[in-house]
């Protein structure tokens, strides 16, 4: 694999992800609006479809402020770290089976390491740095409190999320995302024996993305905007982009690990569109949950994670191990 080849694929992925970000953002505002008996954005372009363009122009033209006491280097690096890590994690997500165009063999991911799932988990852990450094470097009470909360939360829920992922790894006996999906094509979808693991993954992914009802890191009522209060303009946009790209990664991972990836239900063939449909459903779930549940109190969040999700994750691991030891699908 030459460097140029990887570079071209990376650029395509980044463009795709950022375009998707722009439109999922409008979609989220629309969906939230609909949940609240509003229309959402409708003014810019037909049906509000030029809204992201307007937002982008606005963001670029805003003054780039920096608090007087801020740590310059960290303050400037943090949003880049957040976005870079979010984009990097998606690089190993396969969007579909290997495509054959003539004699060309095209895997539908930028990189395809043998143990892709480990890479995703590792990069998502680094994602905490963007949030915590941003809050720390801002030299602001609210930002610091927000980043402290976010760090504690992401570290705790990563454990629950990790347990759910491990249950999938045990179930398929591989760390390779492609193999996992093709196994679900042959046998049942992962969520059928591993329903508890899927549930934990669902909750954990919402918490991992710092989204409502787990958005304590940016609790508007108490912390103004949490870790990114002091950011403006494009640096702020970086954090938002990172959040959305993380959502994409999580939804893709959920679909790949538990929902059969690019395989259609009831043997209805397999294509990229199935995966995208599942991701869309997953993203809709994110928005649905956001419009339904009120934010958790901090102690509730912690006790829910450590006292319910993590033990449940272990319990589920025992069940899945038993399932596999008893012969599993074979």
């Amino acid at each position: 694999m030459s460097l140029g080849y990887v570079l071209v694929r990376s650029v395509i992925l980044v463009v795709l992800l950022l375009t998707a970000f722009a439109y999922v953002m409008v979609l989220e505002r629309k969906v939230l609006g609909y949940f609240q008996l509003r229309w959402g954005p409708v003014r810019v372009g037909p049906w509000g479809m030029l809204q992201p363009l307007a937002d982008a122009i606005k963001m670029m033209n805003k003054e780039d402020t920096r608090p007087a006491g801020a740590d310059t280097l960290l303050f400037y690096v943090a949003p880049a770290v957040a976005l870079f890590v979010a984009l990097g994690a998606f690089a190993v997500i396969p969007l579909g089976p290997v495509a054959h165009i003539g004699s060309l063999v095209l895997p539908l991911s930028v990189a395809h390491p043998a143990s892709g799932i480990l890479f995703v988990l590792a990069l998502l852990s680094v994602g905490v740095y963007g949030v915590s450094l941003g809050g720390w470097a801002s030299q602001s009470k609210y930002a610091l409190l927000g980043s402290l909360r976010a760090t504690a939360q992401m570290v705790s829920y990563e454990l629950a999320l990790g347990m759910a992922v491990i249950s999938a790894v045990v179930l398929y006996g591989t760390l390779n995302l492609n193999t996992m999906v093709s196994m679900q094509g042959v046998h049942l979808w992962g969520a059928i024996p591993d329903i508890l693991g899927f549930a934990i993954f669902l909750v954990g992914s919402v918490a991992e993305c710092n989204r409502a009802p787990f958005d304590l890191a940016e609790a508007e009522g108490e912390l103004v905007a949490g870790f990114h209060v002091e950011y403006s303009g494009f640096r702020f946009a970086n954090f938002v982009m990172a959040e959305y790209v993380n959502m994409f990664t999580m939804s893709a991972l959920g679909a790949l690990l538990f929902l059969g990836g690019w395989h259609g239900p009831f043997g209805l063939g397999s294509s990229v569109w199935w995966l995208l449909a599942k991701m869309a459903l997953y993203l809709f779930f994110f928005m649905w949950v956001r419009s339904t549940f009120p934010r958790l109190r901090y102690d509730q969040l912690m006790s829910f994670g450590w006292k319910l999700l993590v033990p449940l994750g272990f319990l589920n691991l025992v069940w899945i191990s038993t399932f596999v030891a008893l012969g599993g699908w074979h």
Partner: protein
């Protein structure tokens, strides 16, 4: 943290899908948003909005400069000064007319007391509520601004443009 029996705690979990169901139901409800500038909800019949100074059918101003509105105004936003009607072309049917009539719309609380105090029905509140301006000065309105068009001098088309 309060302790409750395990069973009721588990029962509480039922609230989660119930809540999700409730919000999902709202997706198909009718929207309550009105596309404001294009469509406007009707205001109440007796809504008190922007003032006008009315005329009689023959075009003469109703205001006789009695200053009762100024006295009635709890916000002290009306200033009236009266002057003698010029005999050759009178502004109003009485002896005097409202020579100066100013309202500070930013101070006005739209209580309608001026309307009630007016003996000739000159000052009236209309249902118009979309008052906008670029400066505070824009809201200091005078007699010319408040007066309805004179049917003797203005054609219907000009009235429509106002």
């Amino acid at each position: 943290m309060s302790r409750m029996p395990k069973s009721s705690r588990l029962r509480q979990l039922r609230g989660l899908p119930e809540g999700l169901g409730t919000t999902l139901h709202y997706l198909w409800r009718r929207r309550v948003t009105v596309d404001y500038p294009e469509r406007q909800r009707p205001v109440a019949e007796r809504f008190r909005g922007l003032h006008i100074l009315d005329r009689y059918d023959d075009g003469l101003e109703r205001c006789v400069g009695c200053e009762l509105c100024q006295a009635a105004c709890p916000a002290h936003c009306i200033t009236v000064e009266a002057a003698e009607n010029p005999p050759d072309h009178p502004f109003s049917p009485g002896e005097r007319y409202g020579y100066r009539y100013e309202i500070d719309l930013l101070r006005c609380i739209f209580c309608g007391f001026c309307e009630e105090a007016c003996p000739t029905g000159a000052i009236q509140l209309t249902p118009r509520h979309d008052l906008v301006g670029f400066s505070r000065q824009d809201f200091q309105v005078d007699r010319e601004w408040l007066l309805v068009p004179d049917p003797r001098t203005e054609t219907l088309a000009e009235e429509g443009a106002r």
